[in-house]
């Protein structure tokens, strides 16, 4: 079952991660199934796929929010899935998360000072005066003027500014792993560029390892060293960013990339025609390969046999019976 992922010296190891949500006594949503990926220290792994592919569920399972149904998540060799209560809280200082909706993820009734200081408060680090100094330092780092911002509340800030505040909060404990779940998706392009540049800069300054989830393939390519593509809860393809964008091998990856509207009127559009239809339900995923119902290359084997994850080139793994190699 274990994937030959070219055993790298992983800081974050996700192995056979499975997330299921019960619907009734019999039925359940198979949100993530046997997802395996390893992330080196200081590296950014991008996680892409369309809505319902399980990328957010996978990210939350890494955060133990909630803990996965099965599988293992190890951070720097320490298993996170078994941790409880105080132990988990202590471990959480090392991994933090930024969410999609910049405004909803900040408590509207708290001041920016209290919001950004909350992790220190929870971890029981420092005095109130020390907190204020740290908060000011963090706000400054993300490009928010602390003198003007500290005593104000989230509604007084724009989406981009709120996302900067979320970043300040996520980084105040100096975590080692930062999980970004659609962190720039709600922002306008000009503001998105500012926040992406900020994340890239802070990644260097804090020596962060990142798990970056987005539906936007251009954004993911921009920040990632390696990229994993998911479909219906399963890994399709994982490779270095340049490789996967230049030579996608899984039919789904190719479809996804061809659908990206390129800001260039003369760009050639080599579309892979999908079999018309809808994303199958994660309650009753198809047998064999999950993509087979829409894949133009699917054969009987794809229905009968779950494609094993295999390595086709160093660091390039796929789960497909009919990869597009040429």
């Amino acid at each position: 079952m274990n994937a030959p992922t070219g055993k790298i010296d992983a800081f974050l190891s996700i192995e056979n991660l499975t997330v299921e949500y019960p619907l009734s006594r019999k039925a359940k949503v198979h949100a993530v199934t046997d997802f395996t990926a390893h992330v080196r220290r200081g590296e950014t792994l991008g996680l892409v796929g369309e809505s319902g592919c399980g990328k957010s569920s996978a990210a939350r399972a890494v955060m133990q929010l909630p803990r996965p149904t099965r599988g293992s998540v190890r951070l720097d060799g320490k298993e996170l899935t078994g941790l409880k209560g105080r132990e988990l809280q202590a471990a959480r200082r090392r991994f933090q998360m930024i969410f999609q909706d910049p405004i909803a993820s900040l408590n509207p009734r708290q001041t920016i000072r209290d919001i950004v200081a909350a992790p220190l408060e929870i971890a029981g680090i420092g005095t109130r005066a020390e907190h204020a100094a740290r908060v000011a330092e963090m706000l400054d780092l993300v490009g928010i003027n602390p003198d003007q911002a500290m005593e104000r509340r989230p509604h007084e800030f724009s989406g981009g500014q709120c996302q900067r505040i979320s970043i300040a909060r996520a980084l105040i404990l100096k975590p080692e792993l930062l999980v970004c779940d659609e962190a720039v998706s709600a922002l306008d392009v000009s503001v998105q560029a500012q926040v992406l540049n900020l994340l890239e800069r802070l990644k260097g300054e804090f020596g962060l390892t990142m798990l970056f989830i987005s539906h936007d393939l251009a954004v993911v390519k921009h920040v990632s060293d390696r990229v994993a593509v998911m479909y219906l809860g399963k890994l399709c393809e994982l490779a270095p960013a340049e490789t996967i964008y230049r030579h996608p091998v899984h039919p789904y990856t190719r479809t996804l990339l061809a659908a990206v509207p390129e800001p260039d009127p003369e760009a050639l559009r080599d579309r892979v025609e999908l079999i018309p239809g809808e994303l199958p339900s994660p309650v009753n995923p198809p047998s064999g390969c999950p993509f087979r119902t829409r894949c133009p290359y699917a054969t009987e084997r794809c229905a009968a046999e779950v494609p094993e994850i295999r390595e086709i080139a160093p660091g390039h793994t796929i789960a497909c019976h009919h990869p597009l190699l040429n």
């Binding site: 503001v191 390519k221 340049e242 659908a259 990206v260």
Partner: protein, 328 residues
């Protein structure tokens, strides 16, 4: 050349707020011919959605339309029309597809009923004919199993399917003008591509005119004949799509292009972000609205608001346009 369908002249739309008048659309003019797609791009707050509602005359009561504003559709001045007259126009002559396919449909009516309603009201079709036509329309927009889906409710359909239904309703009476306001923003990329293909095909096949409103430069690049870039309620640049991308004149347009992450870029390239934020439309800065964020701005830019100028096909609102030494 072609037959002019839509003529918008000096459209100004403002909203009364607690802090004062917010000028959402500030003097927009353009014309659109049959068979053409005009892309309107801009960031949030640039006025593109208010513009679309101003054309459809679907503004809330708090909206204030400027005295010189004119919208002429097929030679009829919409400003002079009563609500009843407008209602008879919406559907057969102009229609709109909204961003959110979840809220644009009525949750307690079957989709067949929602399409038939348009047909019975405008085309005076009988129930049975309307239903037959509804199935036909659902097939035309690529909804799988149209004869089953016609009796289903919106919650039984996915987002992409709902958007197809919204398009079926919009084209039911074969309008001359279709306004698509961020029609694919809520959808996944593969579905987005299919919906945009569909809209493009409808415009060509039915010889309609379309205004495609989007924040995504990638969407306009592949789908439009002409593009208008909006900033702070104004059109700041307008040109045929290739000309706009290849021969950009307005610094804002150029800055917007530079800030887009592209799949063709190598990883970790630093983006040329535009610093600052769009202006406050209640108290706009003097002069060019982009001047406070523009790296080429000089004193003169902060004094007067630049008018759209340029050639017959390519216009910009900038006194220091890029790459224009020769043209000037």
């Amino acid at each position: 050349m072609g037959e002019t369908i839509l003529e918008v002249t000096n459209q100004r739309t403002a909203f009364a707020t607690g802090r004062g008048l917010l000028q959402a659309v500030d003097g927009v003019s353009f014309t659109l011919e049959r068979g053409k797609i005009l892309g309107v791009v801009g960031e949030s707050g640039s006025g593109k959605s208010v513009l679309s509602r101003s054309i459809m005359r679907l503004l809330p009561g708090t909206a204030v339309t400027g005295p010189g504003s004119r919208v002429v559709l097929n030679g009829q001045d919409l400003m002079q029309m009563s609500e009843g007259e407008l209602r008879r126009l919406r559907g057969p002559q102009m229609a709109i597809v909204f961003q959110d396919p979840m809220t644009a449909l009525n949750p307690v009516l079957t989709i067949g009923k929602q399409i038939s309603e348009v047909l019975t009201f405008h085309l005076k079709m009988g129930k049975r004919d309307a239903r037959r036509k509804a199935v036909e329309l659902l097939r035309a927009v690529g909804l799988p199993q149209p004869d089953v889906r016609v009796d289903q409710y919106p919650h039984q359909l996915s987002g992409g399917m709902r958007q197809r239904v919204a398009i079926a309703i919009a084209i039911a009476c074969e309008p001359d003008l279709l306004i698509a306001d961020e029609p694919t923003t809520a959808l996944d990329v593969t579905v987005q591509a299919e919906i945009l293909d569909l809209l493009q095909r409808m415009v060509r096949e039915r010889n309609m005119a379309m205004v495609l409103i989007t924040h995504d430069m990638g969407v306009v690049a592949g789908r439009c004949d002409e593009v208008a870039v909006m900033y702070a309620g104004r059109i700041v640049e307008k040109a045929p799509v290739t000309e706009l991308f290849r021969n950009t004149a307005m610094p804002y347009t150029a800055a917007l292009f530079a800030s887009i992450p592209r799949v063709t870029d190598p990883p970790h390239r630093k983006l040329d972000a535009i610093e600052g934020r769009p202006p406050d439309l209640i108290n706009p800065p003097p002069g060019c609205p982009f001047a406070p964020r523009c790296r080429f701005a000089e004193e003169a830019c902060r004094r007067t608001v630049p008018e759209l100028e340029g050639t017959a096909t390519h216009q910009w609102a900038c006194i220091k346009p890029l790459n224009r030494e020769v043209a000037a």
